[in-house]
């Protein structure tokens, strides 16, 4: 699993040098609503609710601990 992922990430990286935009083409990407985490508070809220109700956590960020609810 780990090796496959490492190779996967490397492949993505070598492919991506030809992707993307020039600095002056970031008008859309610079918008608040285009940030990967638009609403940090809502993300934290959801992470906490699902952490306490499901067996999975993390993914977007760190998944560990901090609550006796699980």
């Amino acid at each position: 699993m780990k090796t496959v992922l490492a190779i996967g990430i490397l492949l993505i990286c070598s492919a991506c040098t030809s992707m993307g935009v020039e600095p002056w083409e970031r008008d859309v990407l610079a918008k608040d609503e285009m940030q990967l985490t638009t609403d940090a508070l809502e993300a934290a809220t959801d992470d906490h609710i699902y952490f306490s109700k499901e067996a999975s956590s993390g993914g977007r960020g760190f998944g560990g601990g901090g609550c006796g609810c699980n």
């Binding site: 699993m1 780990k2 992922l5 990430i9 993505i12 990286c13 991506c16 040098t17 992707m19 993307g20 935009v21 020039e22 600095p23 083409e25 970031r26 008008d27 859309v28 990407l29 918008k31 609503e33 285009m34 940030q35 990967l36 638009t38 609403d39 940090a40 508070l41 809502e42 934290a44 809220t45 906490h48 609710i49 699902y50 109700k53 499901e54 067996a55 999975s56 956590s57 993390g58 993914g59 977007r60 960020g61 760190f62 998944g63 560990g64 601990g65 901090g66 609550c67 006796g68 609810c69 699980n70």
Partner: protein, 436 residues
Amino acid sequence: MSRSKERSISVALATATCGLLGSSIPAVVDAQEEPNWDINTSLLYYGEDEDRVQEFSLKAIIRRLYTDDRVFTFGLTIDGLTGASPSGAIPLDSPQTITNASGNSVYTVPAGELPLDEEFRDTRVAITANWQQPVGESSQVNIGASASKEYDYLHFGLSGRFSKDFNKRNTTVSAGFAVASDENDPEGGAPIPLSSLLDIGDLSNHLGTDDKDIVDVVLGVSQVISRNLVVQANYSFSNESGYLNNPFKILSVVDATTGDTISRVAGPGGGPSHEFLFENRPNDRSKQSLYTQAKYYMDGNVLDASYRYMTDDWEIDSHTIDLRYRWPVGNDKYLEPHLRFYTQTEAEFYRLSIIDGAPLPVYASSDYRLGDFDAMTAGLKFGWKTSDNNDMSVRVELYQQSGSIPGGQIIGNQAARNNYPDLNAIIAQFSYRFKR
């Protein structure tokens, strides 16, 4: 020089400048100091049906913005929880009396009802602090600390993250590391795993506190694909070791043929009416997950889609799909429908009940969160700009879990009962974000 004369200088200067630069009327200056503070606050209500968990939560994330992209972030959460939580025991056709986890009282569950531990009541305060700063032209470092305290639980954590931009900042690669140490200190002490629930006041199977340590590693890459599309992929590894049981969760000890819980005679001071054991989970768990996310901009609308695959060495596999669609309404309002689909397989040691007389399993838990279930969230958020250009939003979501017991685990009379505690919850959140 008099005040009026000094004041007239800027007026005279404006006239003179107009003469110098020609008659073109320039636009009026609009300059404003960039805010140093970005303050996010919210009030959350989370409520499960059938008198299960109700939670009110106040949250704030306060960001102090310094020049040169340095940011200090402080987070505060205050949660108040009340209500009941499934104990893990199965329903019966007769009433059952169960000692609560702290061993100092009993509660009685009516016939046919799923046993809920009524005692659940807690306040939790959590704080986080994070410092972010650039290193050189294209890298960034984050260091953070977190702590939280509940009545019976204490958490401390540290984290660090390094990210580097490549390829005209179209590619960002990051690596993060976090450690945490949590201490479980349930009232009466943490129960000995797989020991029986005893009469009121008998704490001989309760030990002191128990700790767990958590290590997290996240490796991520985000990539701008085009002017309208950005994607991200994270690989996470997480290991928890130490006391991973839930001290409140029990299992029913059942007859191998009828599937009914074995009766027990309570002591004179009161105690459980049936045989129950405290759960036991392995003292080590390693999870791996792959998280992918895409954000796509379509003529003002934004689609945010993510998928997460998680697998762990308790043999739980899960898939999560999360979809949000931001749909502007007018200039400064938007609607955002949200759909989330989740499914997980049960842990290898998940079992509905323990068979009397059979060899005791090494690990056993009937915590519904370790079972086989699907969940779905459907919600709608409405956001708007206030007159002073701050952001407000309200969202309401419904969360629903429905699980099933693995076929081979249902014995005798259990087949006629609803053993899996389906869950319906409502999530309502109001958020206010302002800058100054």
